[in-house]
């Protein structure tokens, strides 16, 4: 990669915000505690862009999302931060009933070019109300685009695309990925929505994973490779639009599918992917689809309990071996 450096996910997001705010004066940020951000993403931005464009808000999630919608409707490109993805639930009404629908309800008079950035995912013993992975909930709502980057490179490139897009975007940032490093080019580049990244080629099984589960899936692929099994790891990168073509092409080649997510299995991302594969490529499957995710259970505090909630690299490898028979 030209001009690439090793930086963290947090810095990749921050770089995208800085570059987009420099490029386009209609881009601005709003959210709680942006000047001393919970995960540090926006620290220091107020110094460069000023308090007009880096807007600290009261703890009012409805007012944050509402103001972002109204600003987007009137020519701005707001990037709202919801401090934890769990708090999206506070603002479900403006997200689901206004942001997602106003373009349709006005038959195209309105457009809502806004982004909601929010950290999701577990791993910090933050308990049931600060650890959720609610990405799949929003796949059920027409009118929202959803990004789920797994690397610093995708975080920066997808966020730039999201900010320039005229549709509203929910942008999930996995908390553990804030601190992971990756190669990220300096300066401008974008990553398109709706285009999966084949993280590893293989012929024996397709593993579709998102966010922090990509790393586990790749580790599982290493374990499997040592046993002579070649797994193909597919990262959809966005859940809407969802690149089913790439997933189905992979399944047609490998004849087996395992999905891996951090959210609950029931009604999850894997449920949708498995159903679509069943509709479009059932005849190619040599084995039942396997869905891995968290148990249908709120997220516990104790690390002893939290760590059994989620798919592990060994668990993924075992699931693959199970369907390989």
């Amino acid at each position: 990669m030209a001009n690439a450096r090793l930086i963290t996910g947090k810095d990749a997001i921050r770089e995208a915000l800085i570059e987009e705010m420099r490029r386009d004066p209609s881009v601005f940020l709003l959210g709680e505690d942006l000047e001393q951000a919970t995960f540090g993403v926006t620290d220091g931005l107020v110094e460069e862009f000023g308090a007009e464009r880096v807007r600290n808000t009261p703890i009012s999630e409805n007012a944050i999302i509402g103001a972002a919608i109204g600003a987007a409707l009137t020519g701005m490109r707001p990037v709202a931060e919801i401090m934890f993805a769990d708090f999206l639930m506070d603002a479900m009404d403006p997200i689901v009933n206004t942001m997602a629908k106003i373009r349709f309800m006005t038959s195209g008079q309105a457009k809502v070019p806004m982004v909601i950035r929010t950290p999701s995912g577990a791993g910090l013993s933050a308990g049931a109300q600060h650890s959720q992975s609610p990405e799949a909930i929003f796949m059920h709502i027409p009118g929202i685009k959803i990004a789920v980057p797994s690397t610093p490179y995708d975080m920066k490139g997808l966020l730039k695309t999201a900010i320039r897009m005229d549709d509203p975007v929910l942008f999930f940032e996995h908390k553990m990925l804030y601190y992971e490093g990756g190669e990220v080019p300096e300066g401008d580049y974008t990553v398109p929505f709706g285009k999966a990244d084949i993280k590893r080629q293989g012929k024996d099984v397709t593993i579709v994973a998102v966010l922090a589960m990509i790393k586990k899936a790749l580790m599982a692929a290493d374990i499997l490779a040592s046993e002579g099994i070649e797994a193909e790891v597919v990262d959809p990168r966005t859940l809407y639009p969802l690149d089913m073509d790439s997933i189905i092409n992979s399944v047609k080649k490998t004849k087996r599918l395992v999905t891996v997510e951090e959210g609950s299995r029931t009604g999850g991302i894997g449920a949708e992917i498995a159903a679509r594969v069943a509709e479009e490529a059932l005849d190619y499957l040599d084995a039942p689809v396997k869905r891995l995710g968290s148990a249908d259970c709120p997220i516990p505090f104790s690390p002893a309990l939290e760590e059994v909630m989620y798919p592990t690299e060994q668990g993924i490898a075992d699931a693959v071996k199970q369907i390989l028979g």
Binding site: N62, G66, G70, A71, D93, T98, R103, G143
Partner: protein, 318 residues
């Protein structure tokens, strides 16, 4: 006061009344589907308030929003067509009564969710502030909406950020079937402004000039960068919450008394004739013109095509 301005106010109020009464008739004749919330009785609030702002200023509207939109300058034929669920309607039959919107006249949307528009309005005001274009927004909502958490979040944020947002509570004394006395302990919703350190006034919402004056003052304040205001207009809806409401929560006598003594259209007409020396002919000409306009609107709507199911999913995304 300029007579032309006053006659325009009357024309707006008479247009709203005539439109709303025609909508009722068309609904009862089976030509309009869905839930219809009429604004008859509340004309002076929209007319007086929108007369105090400019064409390129914004409004945010509600489920009872026909009057807001007409007062801001929307066309009645395209509104009627929307209520008839036709392709020629403002929202091409995708919105209906609850979501009827014409963004070209500055509306940023009408909401079926009570209080949903209040939080969104701050964003339009924020745009105006960031672009420094001196625009303002009038944010309409009901007495019932003032009990939503969103009301608190929105007024607090508008105050903290000194947004050019004029919050206009159309207190028609009922939230659906619940009278104000059973949904809040205070009488004057404007007193809630104190909690946000913004001006709050209650005005007679049946007096179009009082509404105009109060809103004008708040608009001036907003354009001067001094932030939001809360205006409560005491008003009354002449019809049920929606057409078909059995109205068990209020007496017929109460409704008739308001219609007889507190009808904003009649009150202003008699003032025009007596106090402002308008002559009957001028007023007749306005009324005739509007009656014809609404008749034409119905014809336009009735003759318009239904939306095409083949393009159902258009405009979900850009």
């Amino acid at each position: 006061m300029d007579k032309g301005f006053l006659l325009n106010l009357y024309e707006t109020m008479f247009r709203i009344r005539t439109f709303e009464e025609e909508v009722k008739k068309q609904f009862e004749d089976g030509n309009i589907p869905g839930f219809i919330h009429l604004g008859s009785g509340q004309e002076a609030v929209s007319a007086g308030a929108c007369a105090a702002i400019k064409k390129d200023d914004y409004i945010g509207s509600t489920h009872r929003g026909h009057a807001n939109l007409m007062a801001k300058g929307a066309r009645t034929d395209r509104m009627m067509a929307e209520l008839f669920a036709r392709e020629t309607g403002y929202c091409k039959g995708r919105g209906g009564c609850l979501h009827i919107t014409d963004m070209s006249v500055g509306s940023i949307g009408a909401n079926g969710i009570v209080a949903a528009g209040i939080i969104v309005a701050n964003g339009a005001a924020l745009s105006a502030k960031l672009k420094n274009n001196k625009k303002v927004i009038l944010t309409f909502f009901g007495d019932g909406a003032a009990n939503q958490g969103k009301f608190h979040e929105a007024l607090n944020l508008a105050s903290v950020w000194a947004l050019p947002n004029i919050f206009i509570c159309e207190n028609n004394l009922y939230g659906e079937a619940t009278p104000q006395s059973k949904h809040m302990r205070i009488k004057d919703i404007s007193t809630r402004a104190q909690a946000y350190d913004m001006p709050g006034v209650s005005v007679d919402g049946q007096d179009v000039l009082k509404v105009y004056d109060a809103v004008s003052e708040a608009v001036k304040r907003a354009r001067d960068g001094k932030g939001p205001s809360l205006i409560e207009a005491k008003t009354y809806r002449f019809h049920g919450h929606h057409i078909g409401d059995p109205e068990t929560y209020r007496t017929r006598e109460e409704v008739e008394e308001w219609m007889e003594k507190r009808d904003p259209v009649k009150l202003f007409k008699s003032r025009l004739l007596k106090e402002f020396k308008a002559d009957n002919k001028e007023i007749d000409a306005i009324e005739k013109k509007i009656l014809k306009e609404i008749e034409d609107a119905v014809q336009f709507a009735a003759e318009s095509p239904m939306p095409d199911p083949a393009v159902l999913t258009q405009n979900v995304y850009v």
